[in-house]
């Protein structure tokens, strides 16, 4: 089956005062129908910007190039007006901060119903009924009553449920969730991930989960793409990457995650700081922080190359990596 989304050579640039930074550099990936793809990386790795670009939501100084094929429609070639037919209907997005992502001045039912009025041509009454049904589906108690509430009358978890309901109203082909659980309590996070899983399965929606939390990835994702400095450095199934990471950065991320079985006093972070996009290191952008870097890494940028089982990595290092034993 053809993938629902094929992204080719996606680059995102921001014009600064006197320079241009490239936040996302020649990103290629596909998203299959119904799968969950986790996009993982530190702050500034370009993971959010790549998907904001798909949604036409870049900041004013941002520009995008490349292709993003939704079926045979290139989202990046559309005008704003044309794009409006697709966003919210075929591609929906949920944001990190549920506290501020809903309009404080409008009742929930207004904010939900307008999506259906817009994309499905329903009348206001019909749309409100469907909205209430969707609120019930995402686990909001007394949905008919809550639909009349304003956002400030709901807790953070409830608001994120409303955001999910809003995104799923049109049963989109793709749901992009940008750090959907970061601002929530851990217990609420787990509920939310369950909800994502159930609903995207029910609707056959492909889920893109942008996160820096590997716990979240392990829970719900099928495949993952690790990004560093605006480029993907490793792609593959979640199982492969978790049990057999081939890129030192993936390995570092896994090691810096607290583990319930290990009674470590301190976490084991990746040394150094994420690179400044204005001034990326020469060669492999990860080499200054990499325990396995050698001469070639300083001079040449490793390309993303295919490995077995559909995996890809961008690293010159061959053979096993043993973390903590720095050569």
């Amino acid at each position: 089956m053809a993938p629902v989304l094929t992204v080719k050579d996606l680059s995102v640039r921001f014009a600064l005062h006197d320079s241009v930074v490239t936040a996302v550099n020649n990103l290629n990936f596909t998203l299959e129908a119904g799968e969950t793809l986790a996009v993982v990386g530190e702050s500034g790795s370009g993971k959010s910007q790549a998907f904001l670009a798909l949604m036409g939501l870049l900041a004013k100084n941002g520009s995008v190039s490349g292709q993003a094929l939704l079926g045979d429609v290139d989202l990046l070639a559309l005008s704003k007006t044309e794009l409006n037919q697709y966003r919210g209907r075929d591609v929906a997005m949920i944001f990190q901060d549920p506290m501020t992502s809903l309009n404080p001045a409008l009742r929930l039912k207004q904010q939900l119903a307008e999506v259906l009025v817009l994309h499905k041509g329903q009348d206001q009454k019909q749309a409100e009924t469907s909205a209430i049904a969707m609120l019930e589906r995402v686990g909001i108690p007394e949905p008919a009553k809550r639909a009349n509430a304003y956002p400030h009358q709901l807790s953070g978890g409830m608001r994120q449920r409303v955001m999910i309901a809003m995104a799923l109203l049109c049963q989109p082909k793709i749901l992009i969730a940008d750090e959907p659980t970061t601002a929530l309590d851990v217990t609420v996070q787990a509920q939310m991930l369950d909800l994502f899983k159930t609903l995207t399965d029910d609707f056959g929606t492909s889920l893109v989960l942008i996160t820096h939390d590997l716990g979240v990835v392990a829970g719900v994702a099928d495949r993952m793409m690790v990004m560093y400095g605006g480029r993907p450095v490793e792609k593959g199934t979640v199982d492969d990457l978790f049990y057999d990471p081939r890129h030192p950065y993936t390995l570092g991320l896994l090691h810096s995650t607290p583990h319930i079985a290990k009674r470590a006093e301190r976490l084991d972070p990746i040394q150094g700081m994420p690179p400044s996009l204005e001034n990326l290191p020469k060669g492999c952008s990860f080499h200054p922080r990499c325990a396995f870097a050698f001469d070639r890494c300083l001079a040449e940028r490793p390309a993303l190359t295919a490995l077995d089982n559909g995996r890809e990595k961008a690293c010159f290092h061959e053979g096993p990596m043993r973390y903590g034993k720095v050569a």
């Binding site: 949604m55 036409g56 939501l57 004013k60 704003k80 007006t81 794009l83 409006n84 037919q85 697709y86 966003r87 919210g88 209907r89 929906a92 997005m93 944001f95 901060d97 501020t100 992502s101 809903l102 309009n103 404080p104 001045a105 409008l106 307008e114 999506v115 817009l118 994309h119 304003y150 400030h152 955001m163 809003m166």
Partner: protein, 307 residues
Amino acid sequence: MIQFILKRLAVAIPTLLVLIVVSFFLMKMAPGNPFAGEKTVPQSVLDNIYARYGLDKPEWQQLAEYIYNVVFRFDFGPSFQYRDRTVNDIIAQGFPVTFTYGAWAFVAASVIGIALGVVAAVRQNSWADYLSVGFSIGAQVVPNFVMAPILVLVFTLWLRWLPGGGWNGGHWSNVVLPVVALATSYFANIARITRSSMLEVLGSNYIRTARAKGLPGWKVIFGHALRPALLPVVSYLGPVFVGMVTGSVVIDLYFSTGGIGQAFVNSALNRDYSTILGITILLGALTITANLVVDVLYAWIDPKIEL
């Protein structure tokens, strides 16, 4: 909501009483009195006049009688300056004039100011932004006592389109110039406040959500951004409304409109005690009402505010 409004109206009564008392004593503390003039008047004549207007009584008694008349007979007393006119007459004659051009100026300033502010914010850093900001600043730096003669010069003397003064029972041609002169000094501020508040709202997360839904641009602006963006504008508009409908001495002076603004200033200069107090009470009542309306509007704009 109704309870809130009733409560506020109940509080308004003591507020107005305090206003009367304070104004009364401030007025009495000012040197001179309504009948002090350059001509020396025999003391016996003065005594007669004082007795006629009740000025011979102790001040607390004057105050008590004044309050009694205002509260129970809605009588603001005779003017100390114009022998055959009461303060009620002066207000009844001047206030409708002032209210007419003030209210129109308020509407014009709000509509133009908000529209310019929204356009400037939506097209930030474009020629439309620079044009509306430039226009606003231009309007702001020209005070109305400069604006008024310029308008008369252009529209009355050069173009001969509009009369340069008079009220003529509120004929539209007499209303236009006072409205324009009064509105220009205010719409600039309204535009500036709208622009910056709109910019802030347009950069907020919930506007990004609205865009992600695929809403067309105008719906994002008018359906989602405008209402929250108007909050600071509304708080500015309350006092502006009062300032405008209570008139401007400059407007009354240049256009001979005969509004209450000029009457107020004249009364203060002439120590026309009853007129000063009458107009002060009117201003106080209007201010209290405008603030109440602003608070109710707040609650409508921002559901977090519960009345």
